[in-house]
Amino acid sequence: MSVTEARADLSPVAPPPRPRGRWRSIGVLVVVALAILALLSQGLLSSLNYFETVDQVLAHRAAVGTKEIRLEGLVAARTIVRTAVGTDFVVTGSKGRVVVHATGEPPQLFAANIPVVVVGHFTTRRGLTFAATSILVKHTATYIAQHPTRVRAPNGSTR
């Protein structure tokens, strides 16, 4: 047998196995879709907004009732009182204020004049007292250098 004839024998004698890429691709897509649905189901499917502001909640206070919500507002100056179980303070919007009784340790940055998101519920159907199980500090996008000689305002803030 010559070398040329031997090389001719290299052609495949049986068809190659059918690539199974299509079904495996569909499997990957299904897994990805399920993973995305699982992530979205953690809150975004019910609402894309993470919280409601004090003004929004007060605008439809009766509808909110005592169901659990995330409430955002500015911590009013000189209202923070440490209690045996947590912290009491007032959060304000432009149109109203809500008294918060929070349990647990507040975050490191918790202070007056800082926006916070409190998680919990109103204690009564129409009242403005909120029982919070956690406090989340919502810091702003502005970064300003600390200055040791900066003047401190009577409300505790510095500019």
């Binding site: 047998m1 070398v3 031997a6 090389r7 024998d9 290299l10 690539p19 199974r20 890429g21 299509r22 495996r24 691709s25 499997g27 990957v28 897509l29 897994v31 990805v32 993973a35 995305i36 992530l39 979205l40 953690q42 809150g43 975004l44 894309l48 907004n49 993470y50 919280f51 409601e52 502001t53 955002e72 507040p106 975050p107 490191q108 940055l109 918790f110 800082i114 998101v117 956690s134 406090i135 989340l136 500090v137 919502k138 810091h139 702003t140 996008a141 502005t142 970064y143 300003i144 250098a145 600390q146 200055h147 900066r150 510095t158």
Partner: protein
């Protein structure tokens, strides 16, 4: 890229990262509200910049170039997979540094708000892209399907970017890419932030280049192995 630029890319990247660390840890002042926690601003946004815009953007553009008949090439496919792998690493780093930053500032490691969740979804999509490539034996089908997947996944990038504008999120709004084009950070803090973006951009270039070379080497090795197998088979038949 010239040979000199290629040789300098690694050292310049390391130098710029070292300068960022020095400025961020020792030179810049603490923030008025966040104190020393704000130093993560010299890491986290730059990582997100690379993950979302540079890497994922490169993978998407390369995927478009692959699908477009006039620009279709194996190079575009290799660039796409290289950039997507780097993107996945940087997405994970973005989520990790964000979580580390979130614990002391927000008070929680994680919040299911629109920005965080959509970024996590991008991570799943990047992982899905790489899994999709492994699922296909045929190189052409693999490149085509993953390119389509990358382009569809890129729809999530503007959603992530504008999530803090469209919806109420716990995550802060834009500090640099604001709608009014005004910076919300100034002085040495702003310059350090800019240098961090340059440093991580260089790191991205370095990593993508290394990953691309690996992809070329892998293809070359596969071709060599195939040629070797054919030669061995031919020798067996001759014997």
């Amino acid at each position: 890229m010239t040979r000199l630029a290629q040789r300098l890319l690694g050292p310049v990247t390391l130098l710029s990262l070292a300068v960022t660390a020095w400025l961020g840890l020792w030179v810049t002042p603490p923030d008025r509200v966040q104190g020393d926690l704000a130093r993560l601003v010299y890491v986290h946004p730059a990582l997100a910049w690379v993950a979302l815009y540079l890497s994922f953007g490169t993978a998407t553009i390369a995927s478009v170039l692959y699908l477009w008949p006039r620009t279709r090439s194996v190079t575009a496919d290799r660039v796409a997979v290289s950039a997507m792998e780097v993107s996945l690493v940087f997405i994970l780093l973005t989520l990790a540094t964000g979580s580390i930053w979130g614990r002391p500032t927000w008070g929680v490691w994680w919040a299911w708000d629109a920005r965080l969740t959509s970024t996590a979804i991008l991570g799943v999509l990047a992982l899905g892209y790489l899994a999709l490539r492994r699922a296909n034996d045929d190189p052409e089908a693999r490149a085509r399907r993953s390119a389509v997947f990358a382009i569809l996944s890129a729809i999530n990038v503007p959603i992530i970017h504008f999530s803090v504008v469209w919806w109420k999120t716990l995550h802060q709004g834009a500090t640099v890419f604001t709608s009014t084009r005004s910076l919300k950070i100034h002085g040495i803090m702003a310059w350090t932030l800019l240098i961090s973006f340059v440093a991580f951009t260089l790191a991205y270039g370095w990593l993508v280049r290394a990953r691309y070379r690996l992809e070329v080497a892998r293809a070359g090795r596969e071709a060599a192995l195939l040629a070797e197998a054919i030669a061995r088979r031919a020798a067996e038949v001759v014997r």
